[in-house]
Symmetry: C2
Subunit: 560 residues, 2 copies
């Protein structure tokens, strides 16, 4: 019944679904969880909701500065209501964090209600981006709400102030989180595809060096240095898309199961969405900036579209679970899975490969020639071996600690790397699975196979230390993978522009002069420059005040 | 005699030096080299300067759209004059790119002179950053200037239109480039130290998770995941500072030599400044964004200072030589050096280690225990072996090509990696050299030694693939390095805040609420939020126009 904000950054689907309901309800709502001092650790929230049995009300209060709600989108100026997360207190006991619907502003004149202090938290990264979203702060001074404003599906407070848990399984609470993270993965592919589309098209337009006999210079997309930076990102955009499609299927599946009270796949779904959210958003954030650099100086212009795309994208690495915190959650599940192997428990889903751990700890990569790296089974096994050995190595180190939590903290960097290896394996395997299906369109499958290989082998090159240190491949096999990668770049090159055209982004949606479909970049850059308000006049504002006195050596009267 | 712009992004030193001269000359000048279609390839510039012997003038012209000058700072609205780079044409021949002083605007009323089209190129990355610099475009329509407006120290055109080269050595032209790049390296340390200072102080203030028995949560700086991301950047800030100091000495030395017509060290100086400019600016740009992420959600607020620091810093990766182009130049020098080894030519300066190539191709790392990695000689040799073997490997591959240029293009990604390995060796070795000197202050040397080891071993971990694939170290030795790195983080932790305080940045200079010296972060974040213009009123502008009709279900009259 709530929309994040009327200016909403929500998906089209969310808007279609919630906007009409919000209209009907005549409210604008937001989701107020994060506090000034509390983000990742939801259980550490400080806002209190103390039940008063005399009046049958909750008293909502912000006891400290750090308990101020901070960041909720649309809160600062627009929202009339909020779902507020606060610590439930009743009968002198703390029952942890619960949710309450609270009206913040008058529906008559929009002024904040008594006891409510609310406002905008100020400017954010970029010249646009989230600056059009009034992320807000919110403080309560003993605000009283009715008991039935607590969301009571899972936990209830009775008229007498007794805390009762319903029989609704608490696991259902994960549903929303899983849903949101799954959407973020799909959207990472979308954001990345925009950046890659801009950089690829412009790299085909831009020429530099290599002019022979007065001919045109070389298109920068023909340089291997450009290809080795750009094509792995192009491949990632496709890889994340297929991972997102699969995750959507997984979410649909788990939703059905949850409705039937089957929670068996929930840990797996939780690990997949958390891990893939983390690695796809981190990779996409870095990739957008890399695409900007690949566009040279002109990428720094706002009209390239890339600065704004970056500024609006990067919060994905922090919100809905900080990316490092999420990887540690994945690592925890991996460690648990490895520990349970001894007891004969068979891992399922994306951790199923750990069930073959004995084989994976011993097997040898059979690559002898560069083209051996084109076999999906070879790639898949290399990634499985790497991931399995890194997890097992962490588990072995952990077993040397008397206190497992101390051990977990001590080697947490290694655990993060093991989680990354696991998540990259998922994406590689889902790309390979996709290619085992029917792919319509003549020659399309071959192109996608090239991209799949580029994705896997460029990861192998980037994380060569992992693959070599686990003895998963030999240095010679690593060199062959690199050789094969160079050949793959040559195969991708002729189709690179088509492969980004296939994303089917309109010029309007791309919002980039450099990424124009027609390639008419220079004329449009020039036209765009003229639109700068600074060019409304030839002589700038302030000339008489600042520049002229300087030039006329009347420095003391200049306002510099 | 020129300053980049009155709003100048120039260093304090530049301003002190040039501003009074500019005042005296009653002009504002800029440096107009880059064109819309030509950046890295200066020899490809299209603007023409055609000598007309009848009038003893040059005719300056922009023959194409891509020949428009584009990017010069201060050009758009402020400059009255520019040093313009254009192709010299005389007697029907093209003599390549030369420099000309050209007046652009009237000194009476600042209007552009006849034949001159000039303006601002529009918005750039960030909400501030280079948006206060009127980067401009400039086109010439057959603008006539006097012959003596050509800068004729190196090349001259006589009254008759004859092109003559002076006996001034052309190598002198490199002087400015070397000087500017050396300054960029020093400034990278400064920018990085600001970001690291903010992230380190805030990581000590911010607490999240780990509360036991109702006590305070854990400072995030105590998490190994935070340390493993932050401390290598802290170490880099120190490493780049010492590299910058050394480069300044090298520049002073080469300047003396150039004055005495000794060009022997110029290639070495050119390689060092190009390579170090590239790797320090790339690392710093990435590090600023990493520091922002290390500050969690609040790092995304403008008042954290990090978004602006990032936006204003990243052009360093592109200007004064694109970072990849520069690394390819370093690689070229490395390949030349390796090729000359056979003829017995002894490499000098920072390539001297290649003179011991036979030893470096065969030697084995002697690390047996983690603490062996603390020996400077062990670290140095590991980095030398890695760099030497990567260069030799590239040289061997190149020798298999019948056309060396084809080979260079084909393996350019590998060459870039070899150049990075070489440049990282320089920084590691200069850090080690610094620590062989007297370091004043009790215990300071120990702290710097820890940082030096963190810098080197974190690079080793990051580029483990290089070290393992060249057989420079074994997987076990790599694991020992990682183990030692974890121990080093524990040693750095208690001094981390002091180590950033030592940069001595004032709160005013840092411009960051999160990086405040007094650590009073939350109160100041709250105070800062109230300064948002959106908080001038409780009910926002536009409420009656947009929000109220929505709430009152008068959607058709709402202007949404």
């Amino acid at each position: 019944m709530f929309i994040p904000a009327i200016e909403g950054q929500g998906t089209e689907e969310q808007k279609r679904k919630w906007l009409p309901m919000a209209y009907k309800m005549q409210i604008i709502g937001c989701y107020a969880q994060t506090e000034l001092g509390h983000g990742s650790n939801v259980q550490g929230l400080e806002t209190t909701a103390t039940f008063d049995p005399e009046t049958d009300e909750f008293v909502i209060h912000s006891p400290t500065l750090t308990s101020s709600k901070w960041w909720p989108g649309g809160l600062g100026k627009a929202s009339t209501h909020a779902v507020v997360y606060a610590r439930l207190r009743t009968n002198g006991q703390d029952y942890g964090v619960q949710a309450f619907i609270i009206q913040l502003r008058s529906l008559d004149d929009h002024s904040p209600l008594p006891g409510i202090t609310v406002g905008d938290i100020g400017m954010k990264f970029g010249s646009g981006a989230y600056n059009s979203m009034d992320n807000g702060f919110l403080r309560f001074d003993h605000v009283r709400i009715l008991r039935n404003q607590m969301l009571m599906r899972v936990s209830q407070v009775t008229r007498e102030g007794k805390y009762v848990q319903s029989d609704v399984p608490r696991q259902l609470l994960y549903g929303t989180m899983v849903s949101v993270r799954q959407i973020i993965v799909s959207e990472s592919s979308c954001a990345l595809s925009r950046a890659v589309c801009i950089a690829t098209r412009y790299s085909a337009v831009r020429r530099q060096f290599g002019s022979q006999n007065g001919g045109p210079e070389t298109q920068v997309i023909n340089y291997k240095t450009q290809q080795s930076r750009l094509f792995p990102l192009l491949a990632s955009a496709y890889a994340f898309r297929f991972a997102g499609e699969w995750l959507k299927w997984l979410y649909t599946d788990v939703t059905k199961r949850l409705k039937a009270n089957d929670f068996s796949t929930l840990p797996e779904v939780h690990a997949c969405t958390a891990g893939l959210k983390s690695i796809t958003t981190s990779a996409t954030a870095d990739a957008i900036e890399e695409c900007r650099k690949l566009c040279g100086g002109h990428g720094y212009l706002s009209c390239s579209g890339l600065p704004e795309l970056f500024a609006v994208y990067i919060p994905n690495c922090t919100f809905e679970g900080d990316n490092i915190v999420l990887l540690l959650q994945v690592a925890r599940i991996l460690m648990k899975t490895v520990a349970q192997l001894a007891s004969g428990k068979k891992p399922v889903g994306t951790t199923a490969y750990l069930g073959r751990v004995e084989h994976l700890m011993q097997c040898h990569c059979e690559v002898r020639r560069a083209e051996d790296w084109l076999k999906p089974s070879v790639i898949l096994e290399a990634f499985e071996v790497r991931a399995a050995r890194m997890s097992v190595s962490c588990a072995q180190t952990l077993s040397g600690f008397s206190n497992p939590e101390d051990g977990f903290a001590d080697i947490s960097s290694d655990l993060v790397e093991a989680a990354v290896a696991h998540c990259q394996l998922i994406i590689v395997s889902k790309f390979i699975e996709k290619l085992q299906q029917e792919i319509p369109g003549k020659g399309v499958k071959t192109q996608l196979e090239n991209l799949c290989n580029v994705y896997a082998l460029s990861l192998l090159h980037k994380h060569l230390g992992d693959f070599l240190s686990t003895g998963c491949i030999s240095p010679e096999q690593g060199a062959l993978a690199n050789e094969q990668l160079r050949l793959l770049y040559s195969l991708v090159r002729p189709n690179a522009v088509s492969l980004v055209d296939a994303f089917n982004h309109t010029d309007h949606y791309l919002g980039s002069v450099l990424g124009r479909f027609d390639g008419n970049v220079y004329q449009k850059l020039y036209d765009e420059a003229w639109k700068s308000p600074l060019n409304d006049t030839y002589v700038p504002d302030g000339y008489h005040e600042y520049i002229r006195p300087l030039l006329k050596q009347q420095i003391h009267t200049a306002r510099l």
